[in-house]
Amino acid sequence: MRLRSLFSLLTVACLAALVLTACGGSSKKSTASAGGSGGTLITLAQAAAPGSPDPQINYTLQEWQMLIMTHDGLTAFKKAGGLAGTQVVPDLATTIPNPTEGGKTYVFTLRKGIKFSDGTTLKASDVTRTFERNFAVHGPTAGTFYKTIVGAAACLKTPATCDLSKNGVVPDDANNTVTFHLTNGDPEFLQKLAVPFASILPASTPMKAVTIPPPGTGPYKFVEYNLHKQIKLVRNTHFKVWSKDAQPAGNPDVIIQKFGLGPEAEVTQVENGQADWMFDPVPADRLNEIGNKYPNQVHINPLTADYYMAFNVRVPPFNNLKARQAVNYATDRNALVKIYGGPKLAVPSCQILPPNFPGYKPYCPYTKNPGSGKWTAPDLAKAKQLIAASGTKGASVKVNTDTTDTNKAFGLYFVGLLNSLGYKATLQALSPDLQYAYCQNSKNKVQFCWSAWSQDYPAASDFINILFGCSSFVPNSDASPNLSEFCDKGIQAQIDQALKQGITDPTGANVKWAAIDKAITNQAGWVTMFNPKQLDFVGKRVKGYQFSPQWYFLLDLASVK
């Protein structure tokens, strides 16, 4: 039995060894010292921002939050928290010029002595080259934001030979000025110059998409861009502050964003002090925990964004106005808010424009006791009446969402709601990479589809015209952001008028936008669900958190020392 006892011993020993694994390690504690500048800001994200890292191609907030620290445009949104952050201030230009010739000409004078991170000096022809490059690399907004530049049409057709220097973006290196000529007045042009698509790059930047953002004029520069590991920004030694409003010198010396962890692990790291901020939303089951244990590290700010379900107004049963309004009356927006994370993270809404947006006036007809402009409770009786009057009972409906937890939960809620109203509803949950394009394409005849929209910049047309304008509905195309396929001639005429008025009289135009918002809401192209809020969970050593409605958490204004 020697063999047996040997094995018994081994077995027990192995079992014991498996239980004891530690081999000591000291945990280092850092002493926090008061102060502003220096240190490394460690941020986390599950994955790198999707799309090319090229500033003229990338269209994600995740990338933009970095690019505003490394690059500048002729104008910028003020780097400040609160409503001040929506103000457009001069950045590389000395002042904001008033447009001439009916809003078609802008003359910018560049500041002197600004250097890129590679040491070269900014000159006027860099600006021209940057805009030509926008067309050459097929930037996603080349044909939308910047199509009013003279010569843009030709550049869209043959990007390789794009030349704007004669008529569109005319440089004068000697006097350090750049003149923009537009085909029409554009009330949002100054804002369009403040987004990273219009960040000025050195003229020597290659005319095809790059794998790491090119040199910029900002206080930081990219030194590492590894999609599966991290990106790293260090100070740009050639940078000097020329306008604290537009581009202050940042506080941290180094900023990194590490990839590869899931959101649960990210929360744990921030809690443990191993990271300073996580880009991804905090998972629902940790909200209570961080709210209780780390309330001082939680910052909640309202977003100018909508979560909505879009009806297809051209396909039964929701080509019937009464049916659409009925669903709007029946929707319990509190349940949807609950699914999203509770009333602290979302505010019910019935209309298109979000609060604090130009042209916003509270309006909600789809509630019990309407009149206050706020949604309070669903009105099931009215909903049932409308359904009966519409004659659409019994129709089958596919509710389309993507497969992420929260959105699928919205879908399931609406499946239940539609079934209780007498429809035959089923859920159709597609991969997040397919769902948006699938909903946009009219040949798929999607009846009822989840989506969300947040601003590019604060202008009512960025919501209303893009989401409900007739030209935004492109049949049989994957790029048709007007999910409702909505096109009302009367409302479109109002939109055109408001756009025109905005060039000279933005305040008056905003009154018009509010009326348009009301009219579209009455047509019930959507079931607007709520306006979400942004929750930022920062590490305990982070001081000076500031939230701008345009760029959200201003990373370089915080300090970790």
Partner: protein, 350 residues
């Protein structure tokens, strides 16, 4: 000198039994007798059958005992607990009032194991999930073993080009990106108007046939290999030579001589494969490319539970425990089967 005696595992002839009792009985009948004497195996089988019965009784539980609809979204619902009306999903406590948490296990028949993110009764869902997981697990394992057996017999026996072609085909299947196929198929079905039409019947996106067929197919190579190896070595054995000398044709050789001998390997592998297929189904469902809503399976419930791991771990733990119990029961029973089927084991008189 120490002698290593392979022990008889409780499968000995009783004192009253003599050799005469086993005379004239076929090997299968003998195996049946042995199996019936193995109490632990029988207990495991009973546990497994209990799980099956309870899972298939899910509608009765949900409707008559728990009075819930485990598939309907119930985010703003309430229940009465100890006389008080309580929200099924409650707002967070603390200074910020952040988060919404479903209720935990009530240990009563209403929301026995608590609620999930949608306000649904977890216990009822776990039972319904058992139905789907068991159907898929059992059928796909059976399918894989059956196909693997057929292929291995043919390839191992005939050898040569047939063997090469089949073995490379198996390599192809084994290397195949299952997840891609599953994603693509799920998307095709979800986006087609009425499901996939295959002549006789239509498959909707939530049909259990899809994960069943996919999982059954991809594990064929796994079972194929060991069986083929065994067929190769059996082919050289004396009793096969004897049969050939008697003038037996290929068909008879395969099905009457070789097959019975590999059958016990297959039977041993079957419960192991069921374990594997149940786990694979849970992995696919976890990635949202297995069982689709409105159907639930243990895997989809674990996925639901991922988002609640830190607050309501029961939602993820309960289906996990069910998987463990089911697989455990199957394997213990499988052991008993193997012991009963081994023709040269333990018939020793004490």
């Amino acid at each position: 000198m120490a002698v290593f005696e392979p022990e008889a595992e409780g499968i000995v002839l009783d004192a009253e039994e003599t050799g005469g009792d086993i005379v004239g009985r076929s090997p299968w009948a003998l195996a049946g007798r042995r199996l019936l004497r193995n109490r632990i195996s029988l207990a495991a089988l009973a546990l497994f059958l209990l799980i099956v019965i309870v899972s298939f009784g899910a509608p009765i539980y949900a409707h008559d005992i728990a009075h819930t609809d485990p598939f309907a979204s119930n985010v703003t619902g309430t229940i009465t607990l100890n006389g008080k009306t309580v929200d099924v999903i409650q707002q967070g406590t603390g200074p910020l009032g952040l988060g919404e948490t479903p209720i935990g296990p009530t240990w009563t028949f209403r929301y026995l194991l608590g609620s999930d993110n949608q306000g649904r009764d977890v216990a009822a869902r776990v039972l319904y999930g058992g139905r789907a997981s068991l159907i898929i697990g059992l059928s796909s394992a059976g399918l894989a073993c059956l196909l693997a057996l057929l292929f291995a017999l043919v390839a191992g026996f005939f050898g040569g080009l047939i063997d090469t072609v089949i073995s490379r085909l198996m390599d192809l299947i084994w290397a195949f990106p299952v997840y891609l196929l599953a994603i693509s198929l799920a998307t095709v079905l979800l986006t087609s108007a009425h499901g996939l039409n295959l002549g006789l019947f239509t498959l909707s996106a939530s049909s259990l046939w899809i994960p069943l067929l996919i999982i059954g197919l991809i594990y064929v190579p796994y079972v194929y290999r060991p069986i083929r190896g065994q067929v190769l070595s059996l082919r050289e054995k004396e009793f096969v030579e004897a049969a050939i000398a008697q003038g037996a044709g290929s068909f008879r050789l395969i099905f009457r001589e070789i097959l019975p001998n590999v059958l016990s390997t297959v039977i041993v592998l079957l419960p192991l494969m069921i374990a594997t297929t149940i786990l694979t189904e849970s992995a696919l469902s976890y990635l949202s490319i297995g069982v689709q809503a409105p159907q639930a399976s243990w895997g989809t419930i674990i996925q639901d539970g991922q988002a609640l791991l830190y607050t309501r771990p029961w939602v993820a733990i309960a289906p996990g425990i069910m998987i463990v119990l089911t697989v455990l029961a199957l394997n213990v029973f499988g052991d008993g089967l193997r012991d009963a089927l081994d023709p040269r084991s333990k018939v020793r008189t004490k």
